[in-house]
Assembly symmetry: C2
Homo-oligomer: 735 residues x 2
């Protein structure tokens, strides 16, 4: 848009907010969104020499070159998600973006003209469009090119960047046409045209504000930027900054969990970079103590073996190599130059063609990567960080272990009813598992590739998780609105030389029932191993049936109590709330003492859950797959510890990894649990757990007091002890 | 043994056989079994410089050094397999062998003395021993140090080599004691003391003859070598050469399958090397057209993705990196210098400390490895190669595929009742699967780590395989003796530019029933993909129920016919012969035409079996796990095509790999089968199959005639065709 400078100045002066005086640079140079003129010079220079950036460039160029000979196809919108016109328009914005990059690096106008031709085709089509024919009935956010405006906003985020990249190769006439017939109408449609979506504090709103705000930078519409940042009415009630304030916790945790966090990251990362390039004085990366960088880092921390912890609706094969996080890591490295991010970039194996990507590529080529530090951390949930927390505990002692504990909030519509659940990983594998989402993404035969009905009827239900079910009903009676209002409390989290411990509780999952769980990942240094302690306290005003499931991956090896197994016929365990999907394979009622269940995971290691039982716990062995007429569910195993007619119950158990099954080398070591004693004593606010394992005797002490970790002395079996933090482990043999 | 040369000479002259005049070198040098004096010089030289051999040497030395400070422990035999004394004696022979190697390379006598001390401890113990207390009642082959003499023979094979390695560091007195109190008695016990085992044409016999024969070389007892080679009575009815003649087919296939083949290889490889080093004029490696080398090569060919095809009793994680095959590959490379063996050695990742191992290490260090060529091959079964065959077909067109077809003999006690079964692999994964053995090796809680009862009741039964079951009974009515007498026939096998095809038949699996199956792996070059054609003809004198199971790995995605699924209750499919272990999940009866079942494997690819049905085939969907009170079985899936009351039936189907499921990158391609037409016509001896797939029309012709592949002309739908071999594929679009 070629506007005389004077006119531009006048226009700016009509704006009043003082921020603008500070903030807006007169813009005459393109590109200047994620990729700047300075970046382009460095990138052009880089591709003259070999290196991973150059390799990535030529790979992209080859992909674009393959498409260029084909005519531009901009079909009239017709199909919904997954259909032809939908997929074609998605492909188009990616193509335009890629061709724009190649144009800037090659300076070959053929690429710019390809983008121009496609933009002109869109400019011809767009004014003819009404709302999309496949939009959902009564949808609040229909698109025109796409069935929902979310896709249209994603289209704009890419297309505005492509336009910016080829701007200097366009004639004034083309610019006029493309801006007035296409880009301005789209930006207006997504902002003024859909206030409820644009102002919404939700990731759909983030895409819309990112697209419109970036369009504001490119087309010199500072007002659009203001609205994108502060709501259409500039009140700050909505807009990008409010989204940054609300959608992440102060630690950078996104309420829906890592699977959706990585998706939500993309527009944040993109728009923030464009803001910083155009108006560095807004200090967007410092906003809220650098919450955006924290959000990127948190997404990495919430992974194991390269895959995200699959809490809530999550497809389990999604991990840190997702494209959104490739962008995120490039940004994080460029902001911090922390060599740990290079480690992640290396695992991602993908170089972004941008100034940040170049920085990563150069550093990788120089071998600057250092191991990224995965830590034990508690991520506060909710915008204030106080709606519970998601806790990760890790240990490298005798394994490569991670424990995920979830006294976190519901997490909106994609949340599962799994308060205080846990998952456990070792030696690269999932051991105590979470089903994740019931969905075969984009597989037409499986319910059109959408979330399966079994996602509601099984995967979201409490019994599908490793946490307590009262009377065969799910938390909050399966009502997501109630769930959203009622988060658990993280009582404490601490990590010290003895391991890591956390405790959470919730009183609102069931009326009149208090659930409190303490989980610890405990280092037994003498044995070079780490065990898990799980203490789950239930207290209720009335008597209930209490079920505590444990979903394990592997083959059941042994139990130390008799099982009655249904060998001729299998029946369904229950009738609703997920129970209707479980076959009852067998059950047993261990005598008072220690009840053991051992299984063998595919990683070649044995795992035993030893529980302290009083004779009132029944063990039900189940397999997923009942009421599954379309074979939609994976047939995984669990056992459920059940007590009936109880007001109070305490489930105490230890998970112990042991031994090795190595049929390749034909040996098997320690297939049997070595835990021989487990005793629990409460002493005021101290939980004292005596453990005898492999000839060692340990006392584990957990300080549960409200005032927190202050030094305390206590006696156990006549001997004096002292605990300074929340967790302590004493090797009694040494005393 | 220091014997004056004259005495030695006299002794030799008392021997009569003319072979001996040719064969026996006067021996004065140690070591000279697998490792020779010449080898030692080269090896000592090698470890002065860095390289993979040196790395392997120092790794072994470190392991030995770790053990050396501990006192020698030679316990009085007490425990059976897996027990303490059993495992200790196993550990001891390995330790002696390793320390012997380190002595030769380091020339540090401390290592020799360690071996000496252990040998002397054994020499003290051995004369006091009676038969092992844990021997099986009425066992034909009890040991003294071990519960069975097989282990004792393995002990001797290692120990005699260790003795040979440290010989030159021993005093005359020690030699006298060790030979007279230990090595001679053991050798005599394993030969004259157990004629039935020693003379047996069986791998137990191979270990015994290898141990005794090598003892003969070391202790100058040529008579022992003769007996080891030709039976105790030197008749040739038993002995090592007879074992080489009988236990392998002319192509080098071992009757029990690759899992046991790799185990059986070890004594063959070891003793043959010792024979060749001592008596090269016996030309042991040329014996029977080099059958030993063929046996090594066959073991490699019978693998996929590094793991052995799990036919018969086989633990599925066993593969080419097994120590026996590390030795085998070192020998094969040293004999042939074929750089393909270096590829395998590289995958094995282990260097043997021997002359052969050095050769491999040097070649690997020089980067001489070239890809090992996995081929489509038919391995004749039985000592004459005519007891059927095991057929492997491979393709790299649009995948990495292998099809195993088994018109092979029963394979003795470890054989399964699975005549004409098949398995199929693609993209690194098992797709159409075989259960393998039901066993958790050495896991005490799982039936003492032995073969589980379910190995007999399920894994060996016909229904556990992908082949035909008549009237819910297993082949040969499950009688192994009958099975051993009655092998299938391989009608033909051919590989050409169109793919590979084989046909096999058997008339004796069921009385009055002929089973004939033709399987082809067909390259569809235009589509860049490979499909499987399966034609199974059954003909019987009376009417029967015919079941054809297909065991698949993955998640069922779809069927193109309606299923009636048991959602509330599961029942057992049958009462015996493996059927009692199958839950019936659901069933369906497709209309005449094409019946499709699609599943998604963990490799991210879809697979569809399309069958040509006439409305009389019922599909039963099953899961393993019924009548399994100890959770011993893996809960895998199958579907069984069933027809009832039939004298004749032809099952015709195509297995088609298609598409990709990539939730990480969020796309799904071609989740649906593209096969739209399938028609079968018999024309004299020609099987003609018309296939329409992804818009291409193909005619597949298979020449089934007895006279074999001669050029033939034929007409199909009025057009002329010509076939020169067994298999031809015509793209009809081109006509």
């Amino acid at each position: 848009m070629k506007v005389p400078l004077l006119l531009l100045t006048t226009k700016w002066l009509t704006l009043t907010a003082f921020a603008l005086l500070l903030s807006f640079n007169v813009q005459a140079m393109h590109p200047n969104l994620v990729i700047t003129q300075t970046d382009v010079i460095a990138m052009r220079n880089a591709v003259t020499e070999p290196g991973s950036f150059t390799t990535a460039y030529y790979a992209l160029k080859a992909r674009v070159d393959q498409q260029m000979p084909f005519p531009v196809i901009v079909p009239v919108p017709k199909d919904g998600g997954g259909g032809y016109t939908h997929e074609r328009h998605k492909k188009n914005y990616q193509l335009m973006y890629n061709a724009g990059i190649v144009y800037q690096l090659s300076q070959d106008k053929a690429y710019a003209h390809y983008v121009r031709d496609m933009l002109l085709a869109y400019a011809k089509l767009y004014p003819t469009l009404d709302l999309h024919p496949a939009r959902k009935v009564r949808s609040q956010n229909p698109g025109k090119l796409f069935w929902q405006s979310l896709n249209e906003a994603v289209w704009l985020v890419h297309t505005i960047q492509a336009y910016d990249l080829v701007y200097d190769a366009l004639s004034g006439q083309d610019i006029e046409k493309i801006e007035s017939e296409l880009l301005r109408p789209v930006a207006l449609f997504l902002s003024e045209g859909q206030p409820s979506t644009f102002n919404k504090v939700h990731n759909h709103g983030t895409w819309a504000t990112a697209g419109v705000g970036m369009a504001g930078y490119v087309m010199d519409e500072p007002e659009w930027v203001e609205k994108a940042l502060y709501d259409l009415d500039k009140s700050g009630n909505g807009g990008f900054l409010r989204q940054l304030d609300e959608l992440f916790s102060p630690q950078g945790y996104y309420n829906e969990g890592p699977y959706y966090q990585r998706y939500a990251l993309m527009p944040f990362v993109t728009f923030a970079r464009a803001i910083d390039n155009n108006e560095p004085q807004r200090k967007i990366f410092q906003h809220r103590n650098g919450v955006l960088l924290k959000a990127i880092d948190t997404t990495i921390q919430l992974s194991y073996g390269g895959l995200f912890f699959p809490i809530n609706d999550a497809i389990k094969s999604k991990g840190i190599d997702t494209i959104e996080l490739v962008h995120g890591v490039a940004l994080a490295y460029s902001l911090t130059e922390d060599p740990g991010y290079l480690d992640i970039a290396e695992r991602q194996g993908q170089i972004i063609l941008s100034g940040e990507g170049l920085k990563v590529a150069k550093a990788l080529d120089k071998g600057l990567a250092e191991p990224y530090q995965f830590n034990s951390l508690a991520f506060g949930d909710g915008s204030d960080g106080k709606q519970g927390a998601l806790v990760v505990m890790r240990s490298e002692l005798g394994g490569h272990q991670a424990l995920l504990f979830k006294p976190a909030a519901q997490g909106l519509g994609h949340g599962h009813f799994d308060k205080l659940t846990w998952q456990y990983y070792d030696q690269g594998n999932e051991i105590v598992s979470d089903y994740g989402a019931a969905r075969f993404l984009n597989v037409e035969a499986k319910y059109g590739g959408r979330y399966l009905p079994e996602n509601e009827s099984y995967a979201k239900q409490t019994v599908a998780h490793n946490t307590l079910v009262v009377d065969e009903t799910s938390h909050f009676d399966g009502d997501v609105e109630v769930g959203n209002q009622n988060a658990p409390t993280l009582n404490y989290f601490e990590t010290n030389q003895f391991g890591a411990v956390a405790s959470g509780e919730i009183h609102t999952a069931y009326p009149g029932v208090k659930l409190e769980r303490t989980l610890a990942l405990i280092n037994l240094v003498e044995l070079e191993k780490t065990i898990v302690l799980d203490v789950f306290d239930v207290g209720a005003s009335g008597a209930h049936q209490l079920d505590l499931p444990l979903h394990y991956l592997g083959q059941l090896i042994d139990t130390n109590f008799e099982l009655s197994v249904n060998t001729k016929q299998l029946s369904v365990l229950g009738s609703e709330n997920g129970y209707q999907h479980l076959w009852l394979k067998g059950c047993g009622q261990p005598e008072p003492g220690l009840a053991k269940v051992s299984w063998l995971n595919d990683n070649g290691r044995f795992y035993t859950l030893t529980s302290l039982v009083k004779g009132d716990e029944e063990y039900l062995f189940t397999q997923i797959g009942a009421n599954d007429p379309n074979f939609n569910l994976r047939n995984e195993q669990a056992f459920i510890r059940r007590v009936k007619n109880k007001k109070q119950h305490q489930f105490v158990s230890i998970l112990e990894p042991h031994g090795e099954y190595n049929p390749r080398k034909e040996y098997t070591l320690d297939a049997q649990s070595k835990l021989t004693e487990l005793a629990y004593t409460g002493q005021d606010d101290l939980a004292l757990v005596k453990i005898s394992i492999a000839g060692m005797h340990y006392l584990v002490a957990v300080n549960q007091s409200a005032e927190g970790a202050i030094k305390r002395d206590f006696q156990y079996q006549g001997k004096p002890f002292s605990i300074a933090g929340r967790l302590a482990v004493y090797a009694l043999n040494d005393l």
